[in-house]
């Protein structure tokens, strides 16, 4: 299950990139968390110090009102005695600045405004410390300073770089480990897809991506890929089938032309004979060209590019004109061509293609009808579609062949003896699909009824990639012919 990865390409590996991004994100978020914790903790410590100072100040204020300076000094003495952490700083100074009582050697110069907290550097017992202090004005012009030594916080601050270093190492290790786990997961998820793709490239066309069955994103991706592969394989089968048919159906006339030419080249006794052989060979090649043109036209229609030529057309005169063209041919075959179409029948599509499709249906009907029969061309509006029906009294198409009759080059048993390329119905089918309609072949008992359904109104949007007919729009008379 391991993907072989050449060393030179290791730094281009997507899994490595993913792992690196993961590690970086993890480290960044870890540092952000550490800094936030530090900032929040020191903030909390400062608040606690200020609260303690305020409590002291309030207590001293009460004692001052009880008994003046002596009581205050006594209170300070008590407080100092109870202060085991040795962080309390008190000082009572006379109006001239001289210290009256307290454990602070000198009043800090910048502490001037009473009630404001200052962070000041101090010297206590010969040691340089930082303290948070505030001052109060006492009655008679004296000042009281209450403060706290915050060396604990400083110690915490000094510890921090070390802590951060250890944290960095820890974070790096965790990030690396996490990255490796992520990379492994990622690789395992894409390994199957890429192995399937590789197998298909090698020619194992029936390989599919394994589904985890967990119903997660990777599972639905596997389903999507497999659906795509199925569709491609169906298309390829179609192409193979068509190319086999082309090989067979074109080889015959080409072989015939070749034989004629070779035979004429070596055996013709007169120029006349030679000329006749060459002419027949040219006719054979013209047949090949015609088949090619029909195939290309079907491919062009199936590609859907011709939708650009779609316009509103009136099937009334269009079908009447075709009846005029084929009526004479039908009469020649001893048939009557009956037209049952309203004077105007609006439809939406490609005029040339609809003409050609109906012409092909009429051509077939006339070709397979016995003399004396009747061919009927009818059309009617049908909600949002139009239905064009061509009915003959010929032998029809056996039920088992009907579904395949519109495939390229398909020719039924009865059709083998008649001239034709086997592409006529395939073209009608392609035209029907392009017009979001369908071609359905039915038994007319006796004879064949070809029902061509076309969309009569412009679709809401023109560039629908799907050419599948909309289920409700088409009257399903029997199983539609598929190519």
């Amino acid at each position: 299950m391991k993907l072989p990865l050449p060393r030179s390409r290791i730094f281009r590996s997507a899994s490595l990139k993913l792992a690196a991004v993961y590690g970086l994100l993890f480290a960044l978020s870890s540092y952000a968390l550490v800094f936030f914790l530090w900032w929040a903790t020191t903030g909390l410590l400062d608040q606690q110090v200020e609260a303690a100072i305020r409590a002291d100040g309030q207590a001293f204020d009460e004692r001052w009102s009880e008994g003046g300076l002596p009581t205050l000094m006594l209170a300070i003495q008590e407080r100092l005695a109870e202060n085991f952490d040795d962080d309390a700083i008190y000082s009572i100074n006379a109006p001239n600045g001289k210290r009256i009582y307290g454990n602070l050697e000198r009043w800090p110069a910048n502490v001037v405004e009473p009630g404001v907290f200052y962070e000041v550097p101090l010297t206590r017992d010969g040691e340089k410390v930082v303290a948070i202090v505030t001052s109060y004005n006492l009655y008679g012009g004296a000042h009281l300073l209450v403060g706290r030594d915050v060396k604990g916080r400083l110690q915490f601050k000094r510890l921090l770089p070390g802590m951060l270093l250890y944290a960095t190492i820890l974070v790096a290790v965790l990030a690396l480990f996490g990255s490796l786990v992520m990379r492994g997961l990622f690789r395992r998820m894409v390994a199957d897809v890429s192995m399937t793709a590789a197998a298909i490239s090698r020619g194992e066309l029936d390989r599919r991506v394994r589904r985890s069955g967990r119903g997660d994103e990777f599972d639905s991706m596997a389903v999507a890929i497999n659906t795509m592969l199925d569709r491609i394989s169906r298309l390829m089968d179609g192409v193979r089938q068509v190319s086999n048919a082309i090989a067979h159906d074109l080889r015959t006339p080409i072989a015939r032309a070749r034989a004629r030419l070779e035979d004429a080249a070596s055996h013709a006794n007169s120029e006349e004979e030679l000329r006749a052989a060459v002419e027949r060979a040219v006719a054979d090649l013209d047949g090949v060209t015609a088949v090619f043109q029909a195939l290309l036209r079907i491919a062009e229609i199936e590609a859907g590019s011709r939708r650009s030529a779609f316009a509103e057309i009136d099937l009334g005169p269009l079908l009447a004109d075709l009846t005029d063209l084929y009526g004479a041919v039908a009469e020649d075959h001893g048939l009557t061509l009956v037209l049952r179409v309203p004077d105007t029948l609006p439809a939406y599509g490609d005029r040339d293609l609809v003409q050609q499709a109906v012409a092909n249906l009429l051509d077939n009907a006339i070709k397979f009808s016995p003399s004396g029969g009747q061919v009927k061309l009818a059309a009617e509006p049908l909600e949002r579609n139009v239905r064009i029906t061509v009915t003959d009294q010929g032998p029809g198409i056996p039920e088992q062949d009907r579904a395949r009759a519109a495939e390229r080059f398909f020719r039924g048993e009865q059709a083998r003896s008649t001239p034709g390329s086997g592409l006529g119905l395939a073209l009608v089918q392609a035209v029907a699909t392009l017009h979001e309609g369908a071609l359905v072949l039915e038994d007319a008992g006796p004879g064949l009824r070809a029902v061509l359904t076309l969309r009569a109104v412009p679709p809401p949007r023109m560039n629908t990639p799907s050419s599948a007919p909309h289920g409700t729009d088409i009257a399903p008379v029997s199983e539609p012919v598929r190519s």
């Binding site: 290309l296 062009e300 650009s308 030529a309 041919v329 040339d352 012409a359």
Partner: protein, 227 residues
């Protein structure tokens, strides 16, 4: 007639030039777009036969557009291996007068070229067409042969009109399908033959000398004398 042939494939060019010369035309040949444009712009031709795909930076459509932008209205027939309908439309839009898909029968090309040169002469709107003893009045829509009135269906009238307008020229089945019915597809059966044969029943059958002649491997021709 002087015809300019712009075609890069030597086999096709040789075959077409030889055929046109045999039919009595003078042919100039250019095997790339640049030379073709130079000849077309500097000399006078009755018709230009132009291949769509040409080497030398100027393809058939560009050449044609350049020519038309210089108000040169020489009839142009475009030859192309591209059969798709949109390509035909593109060719006609660029200013070509006709379009023929490769591979083609030489008779088809010759018929179309001769039809083009006739059209190029443009002798104004006509009200009467006369070929031999056949007369067609385009205003009253009456047809007479040797003074006898002949009743024609509307489509037969248009078919005969097309043949008379191209009297003395070969008219192919495809030309009739396009010119009379305005159909641009290849019907598998010979529908045109059936219609021409019906027209013959009315125009030629009752008279000693036929006017509509079948030209083998090509199409039909309407003219008083046997070709």
């Amino acid at each position: 007639m002087r015809i300019l042939l712009v075609e890069d494939d030597p086999t096709v060019a040789g075959f077409v030039a030889k055929g046109l010369r045999e039919a009595g035309h003078v042919v100039e040949h250019a095997d790339n777009g640049r030379d073709g444009l130079f000849l077309a712009a500097s000399e006078t031709f009755d018709t230009i036969i132009l291949d769509r795909m040409l080497p030398g930076g100027i393809d058939g459509i560009r050449l044609l557009e350049t020519l038309r932008s210089q108000n040169n209205s020489t009839p142009v027939l475009v030859l192309s291996a591209l059969s798709q309908v949109d390509d035909r439309v593109a060719g006609l839009k660029a200013g070509s007068d006709d379009y023929l898909t490769k591979p083609f029968a030489f008779s088809e090309l010759l018929a179309r070229v001769e039809a083009l040169t006739r059209r190029g002469k443009g002798d104004g709107p006509q009200t009467k067409l006369i070929v031999g003893d056949l007369e067609m009045d385009l205003l009253s829509r009456a047809v007479r042969r040797a003074g006898q009135k002949i009743d024609l269906q509307p489509r037969e009238f248009r078919l005969l009109e097309y043949l008379m307008r191209h009297a003395g020229q070969v008219v192919t089945r495809t030309m009739l399908l396009e010119g009379v019915w305005d159909y641009h597809f290849d019907p598998q059966t010979n529908v045109i033959d059936v219609h021409v044969s019906r027209l013959r029943q009315k125009i030629d059958k009752p008279y000693p000398k036929p006017l509509i002649h079948t030209i083998r491997n090509a199409g039909y021709m309407l003219q008083p004398e046997t070709p």
